[in-house]
Amino acid sequence: MAEPALSIRGLTKVYGNGFHALKGIDLDVEQGDFFALLGPNGAGKSTTLGVVCSLVQKTAGQVSIFGIDIDRDFARAKYHLGVVPQEFNFNQFEKVLDIVLAQAGYYGMPRREALPRAEQLLKDLGLWDKRNGSARMLSGGMKRRLMIARALMHRPKLLILDEPTAGVDIELRRSMWEYMRRINREEGTTIILTTHYLEEAESLCRNVAIINHGEIVRNTGVRELLAELDTETFLLDLAHPVAQVPHIEGFEVSQVEGAQLAVMVHRGQRLNDVFAALDEQGIEVVSMRNRANRLEEMFVSMVEQGNGEHREVVDRAEVGK
């Protein structure tokens, strides 16, 4: 069996101020996977990825990239790794082309090989026309694409994208998704993605891990996770406003606006029953949609559950003081 693209065992990080950012996490990402690492702010996503790409020093644990232990041969492991961080981390005063060529140079790639590669990537990402301009003149979306081009210069087998579409408009976000899908599908690049747009994770990723308070709370397939979704909330737009919330036996109904209702549907319940009850009461539905992205509902419920448990632990500790 092929080595996982990324294998993490017992990864622990305690910062200098005593904050336990990671509490012994285990994680495997298979080769060729499109993997989402989700979690609220401060959960430990960026710390985990920081350790993998050597920007954060781990306190304990083991990390292997394509079977190469980073404690034994980090330099060799780094050849397989491309990183697109959350924040812009290039010299804003340098030319776009110089930034990607310098990155190739750091990996020991000769210029005669780096130039065509840079041209191909900058063209693919719509930056070729900007190659001789200073990076600070690029828009936010272009800067994100520049970081993707830079990360791909040395043809990494594992690409880490830390919130790559943050602050990017919808049209551009979708074109970036398409590009990421393409390199995952056609070049077999394993991709690990962190994002706050759960629609992004649901749309792109095959597997997902949810991290909260420095611990992995779920690690499964996106489909398996969605199959566990117990409740979905549907928003119904009505033809006419209703004076009071209609009663539908077995369903929780609330009024969002005069002509919009929210109906919670548990697994096993039938939407037909909702429509039949509304029909009986003379209420006409003109359109319907999910209140939130399905993965988002699952994510919120897990994080809230985790926060509740975390508060209990903190409360017990406070009482014990």
């Binding site: 020093q57 990155q103 020991g108 000769p110």
Partner: protein
């Protein structure tokens, strides 16, 4: 990394550093040339003509090696300090950290970049000095050797400063409050034989005195201190500071959390 890949990585970094300071030449190359021209005009020509000879040479000839060395020291140091700190500040240092480039290559790349600027400015100041005096070099190899070693030493010093710095103020403190006074008191403008015995002995604690004197010895063939001992001290400082800077990089001081 193979030896070829290491060479490519090192050259990439050095070239990037040279491009950086040549791109902003009005901030990096022009000011020292103008400042040194002022020194030559005011101290060398106007005041120097009234001072007369120093150690048997005209005052202008006496201060030229010191002023060249002063330019090399301050520019080597400040180039690396500001460039590496700017990389830290803009987080572009992460480009290097995530790459397989060994830490010694990162250090050597910045040091060679700093040396390029220090020596470049030194060459410009030398050219400027030709408008005021005729330069003769008594020991060319020694002159070249000591200026290269000094540029290396202060480039490493600038790198350590940048690693420790948390804000831009931190990279200007050492040049302003340490380097400039030590350079002025390091025999650039006078021979320490003019000082009372106590201050002569106190001056011997100033490392810059040795570099200025060896460099002047290379030009004029005169020195206040033993040349061989001074060269050995410079090389020892380079080895120790390089080891400290490399250790700090390995530990991730100031760049890894």
């Amino acid at each position: 990394m193979s030896a070829t890949q290491v060479a490519i990585a090192l050259w990439t970094l050095v070239l990037k550093e040279i491009k950086r300071f040549t791109r902003i030449w009005p901030q990096t190359l022009l000011p020292p040339s103008i400042t040194m021209a002022m020194y030559f005009i005011i101290f060398g020509s106007l005041i120097g003509s009234r001072i007369g000879e120093m150690d048997g040479f005209s005052y202008m000839d006496f201060i030229v090696p010191g002023l060249i060395m002063m330019a090399v020291i301050t520019n080597s140091y400040s180039n690396v300090a500001s460039s590496f700190f700017s990389n830290k500040f803009q987080r572009s240092v992460e480009e290097m950290m995530v790459s397989p480039m060994p830490n010694w290559v990162i250090l050597a790349g910045f040091v060679l970049g700093g040396m390029a600027r220090g020596l470049g400015v030194g060459a410009i100041v030398t050219l400027v000095s030709l408008f005021f005096t005729r330069i003769s070099v008594a020991h060319p190899l020694l002159t070249l050797g000591v200026v290269v070693l000094t540029a290396a030493l202060f480039s490493i010093g600038g790198f350590i400063n940048a690693l420790l710095a948390n804000k831009f103020d931190d990279v200007s403190i050492v040049p302003t409050f340490v380097l400039t006074p030590l350079t002025y008191l390091g025999g650039v403008f006078y021979s320490i034989s003019l000082l009372p015995t106590f201050w002569q002995n106190a001056s011997l604690l100033n490392p810059i005195l040795y570099m200025v004197n060896v460099f002047r010895h290379g030009f004029l063939g005169v020195s206040d201190i033993p040349v061989g001992w001074a060269l050995a001290a410079i090389v020892a400082f380079i080895v120790v500071l390089f080891a400290i800077a490399l250790w700090m990089l390995e530990q991730g001081k100031g760049i890894r959390s």
